[in-house]
């Protein structure tokens, strides 16, 4: 026993991780020399959605499942409605597909704006090592009022589009099994089209600015979860960026397509879910490569890595420039921020295309049917990545089983490895400094994990740092 005590390994705990959407914590293990040996990211809440829906009529599911997450309720609404469409075994009107797509893109814009401006830009503008008491959206509002106002405005535009289409910004009831429950009015369409140019201006301005400061973050780019993984997501049948429908495509770190045109209904053939004893968040992996070699990433970075182009003019230009960053796939997770800004531009341009087509005003927006299929799967791209809802119902249409794989979950393995990489690079056990911990948190922020979603079945996360002796004794602790 004396021997075990002698090699005094230590553990740092960061609890809670802040400026992320939810509650998580990080533990960092130090070896005898005070070097980082291991690091883990834990999600610390479970909400039980896969169970609590049991016995509910399936047509309640979109509204209920939206309550998994107030940040991206539309993603759950849409994925859930698609699973319910499959239970109806009906083909929904094409206009309904387009309207749901616009709604989904509006949410992409607001959620990415929240991640970039409200949560992460304080690190870029005020500095990773700046005063933690001011390093937030309010501090930003004082030091860089234009940036703060732009962020608030861009998110507002996204939220207003959702409100105009669906009647309410958070948890609207417009998306239903079979389509949507109201067609789009001409005036509403015109109001939405009228605000898009301003949104585009803010987004392109932010991207132009971000490209000029990238150089200041070379060290972060090099170390923020910058390693080879697979990338997974949906693409359209022609290989373009796609957030509503489409097929699975998987590429490797060199950018080679390893699987393509996979039907989303067969998700369980390519995605396995592993449990870890220290997190409520499960760790999905790419099944053909096993665990944990099948580590993959989803979300904006993955989507830009798997697509052949975006499919809208300005976003395509930016995409081409973005893909020059690396020879194969773009690997540094710091570039999630960059990818997010390009996707905002794509979202705005694509909404404009969809809203300008005359059939968007069709009155035929909902199909009616009963329970025709005992099982339904709905897959979409949420702001943070691929979202899968899978339900089974009985003859009366009551839910008997549900499984959800959420965007943040897919990234769990990469997030953990990223935390380890940053910790190894920035932390030296002899002294804990606030700025180095903020970098550990910043890599978490780059993934923009949605812990509200992660906690659908899973947990909240948080950050607190402790030095622990191997016997668990707390040697040092840092909280902010």
């Amino acid at each position: 026993m004396a021997k075990r005590k002698a090699m005094s390994k230590q553990t740092l705990v960061i609890n809670p991780v802040t400026r992320i959407e939810g509650h998580g914590k990080v533990t960092i293990q130090l070896d005898e020399q005070g070097k980082v040996a291991d690091a883990r990211f834990h999600v610390t809440q479970i909400r039980g959605f896969e169970k609590l829906c049991e016995g509910r009529p399936f047509y309640e599911m979109p509204s209920l499942m939206a309550r998994i997450c107030g940040i991206c309720p539309v993603s759950h609404l849409v994925a859930s409605a698609k699973a319910c469409d499959a239970i109806l075994a009906t083909r929904i009107p094409t206009t309904a597909v387009k309207l749901r797509t616009v709604l989904n893109l509006a949410q992409l814009v607001q959620s990415h704006a929240l991640s970039f401006f409200h949560l992460s830009s304080p690190d870029f503008l005020l500095g990773m090592d700046s005063d933690p008491a001011r390093r937030n959206i309010f501090g930003l509002a004082e030091a860089h009022p234009k940036m703060a106002r732009d962020g608030v405005r861009l998110r507002q535009i996204g939220q207003q589009i959702i409100e105009k289409l669906a009647g309410k910004r958070i948890h609207p009831a417009w998306v239903v099994a079979g389509g949507v429950n109201e067609p789009l009015a001409v005036e509403t369409r015109d109001q939405i089209l009228a605000v898009l140019p301003e949104a585009l201006q803010i987004a392109t301005g932010a991207l132009d600015w971000f490209k000029t400061v990238l150089d200041q973050f070379r060290e972060e780019i090099r170390t923020f979860a910058n390693f080879p993984t697979y990338f997974l997501g949906l693409v359209s049948p022609t290989g373009e960026l796609e957030h509503y429908n489409g097929f699975f495509r998987v590429v490797d770190s060199r950018g080679n397509i390893v699987a393509d045109k996979l039907d989303v209904l067969n998700y369980a053939d390519i995605i396995g879910e592993a449990c870890e004893p220290d997190s409520y968040l499960k760790s999905p992996y790419y099944k053909p490569r096993g665990y944990p070699e099948g580590i993959y990433r989803v979300g904006p970075l993955a989507r830009l890595n798997i697509a052949d182009r975006c499919g809208t003019p300005r976003a395509d230009q930016e995409w081409a420039e973005f893909r020059e960053l690396d020879r194969g796939a773009v690997l540094s997770s710091f570039y999630y921020h960059y990818a997010r800004l390009i996707e905002i531009i794509y979202g705005i341009e694509r909404m404009e295309q969809l809203l300008q087509a005359p059939d968007i005003l069709s009155k035929h927006v909902r199909a009616f049917a009963g329970t025709n299929n005992p099982e339904g799967i709905g897959v979409t791209e949420a702001p943070r990545g691929t979202l899968i809802h899978h339900y089974k119902v009985d003859d009366n249409g009551l839910i008997v089983w549900a499984n959800m794989i959420i965007a943040t979950g897919h990234n769990n393995l990469a997030l953990n490895r990223g935390v380890l990489q940053v910790a190894k690079h920035f932390i030296n056990g002899t002294k804990i400094e606030e700025g180095m911990l903020n970098r550990v948190e910043a890599v978490v922020r780059a993934f923009d994990p949605c812990l509200s979603c992660s906690t659908h079945a899973l947990g909240q996360m948080a950050l607190q740092v402790q030095l622990l002796a191997p016997d668990g004794e707390v040697l040092d602790e840092l909280r902010r």
């Binding site: 809440q45 309550r67 390093r135 592993a274 449990c275 499960k282």
Partner: protein
């Protein structure tokens, strides 16, 4: 005038109530002149501070950690606001109450797992048998129903409190609003 010390906390909720708070948009930046956000998922403070004037709490009490947090928040805050249906009635989280905790965990970590099935046990809080509203554990000063309460409602609540009044929400919101 010194700024009011405001905190926001998230227990077992979906963050929708926090998002509705953000939906105050430019009014949020305007409020920044009158309040200091001393603890919130939006700022980097890690430990709930002493002497908080107003604490807005979203979500139900579901785990032992939630309970610990709400007791601390109550002890350190002058005014505690139960924000949204989950805080006020336990709303969505309470839908797991008819099931045993073990069944909830088994669904996620045994039935719906491909590898290493088993519910997590290290470094994670323990679920309480039921998700319950906040006021079952601590005194609540203001109840704000809604799922989520609208940004206008939240703004009204904050503005009234900053003026030293207890907001009358009779006509402003309702459950499920």
């Amino acid at each position: 005038m010194s700024k009011a010390r405001v905190a926001t906390l998230w227990l077992d909720g979906c963050s929708g109530c926090h998002m509705s708070l953000l939906d105050m948009d430019e009014r949020l930046l305007e409020l920044a002149g009158k309040i200091e956000m001393v603890f919130s998922p939006l700022v980097d403070q890690k430990e709930f501070p002493e002497n908080v004037d107003v604490a807005l709490v979203e979500g139900a009490v579901s785990s032992d950690e939630d309970l610990e947090k709400i007791l601390k928040v109550r002890a350190r805050s002058k005014l505690l606001v139960s924000l949204g249906d989950c805080a006020v009635t336990a709303n969505i989280p309470s839908m797991r109450n008819p099931f045993k905790v073990k069944d909830v965990l088994d669904r996620a970590y045994i039935e719906n797992a491909t590898l290493n099935p088993g519910a997590p046990v290290d470094a994670v809080p323990t679920l309480r048998p039921q998700a319950r509203p906040i006021h079952e554990f601590v005194n609540v000063d203001v109840f704000v129903p809604g799922c989520p309460p609208s940004a206008d409602t939240i703004y009204f609540v904050l503005a009234e409190i900053l003026e030293g009044r207890v907001p009358d929400l009779g006509a402003k919101t309702r459950f499920g609003a």
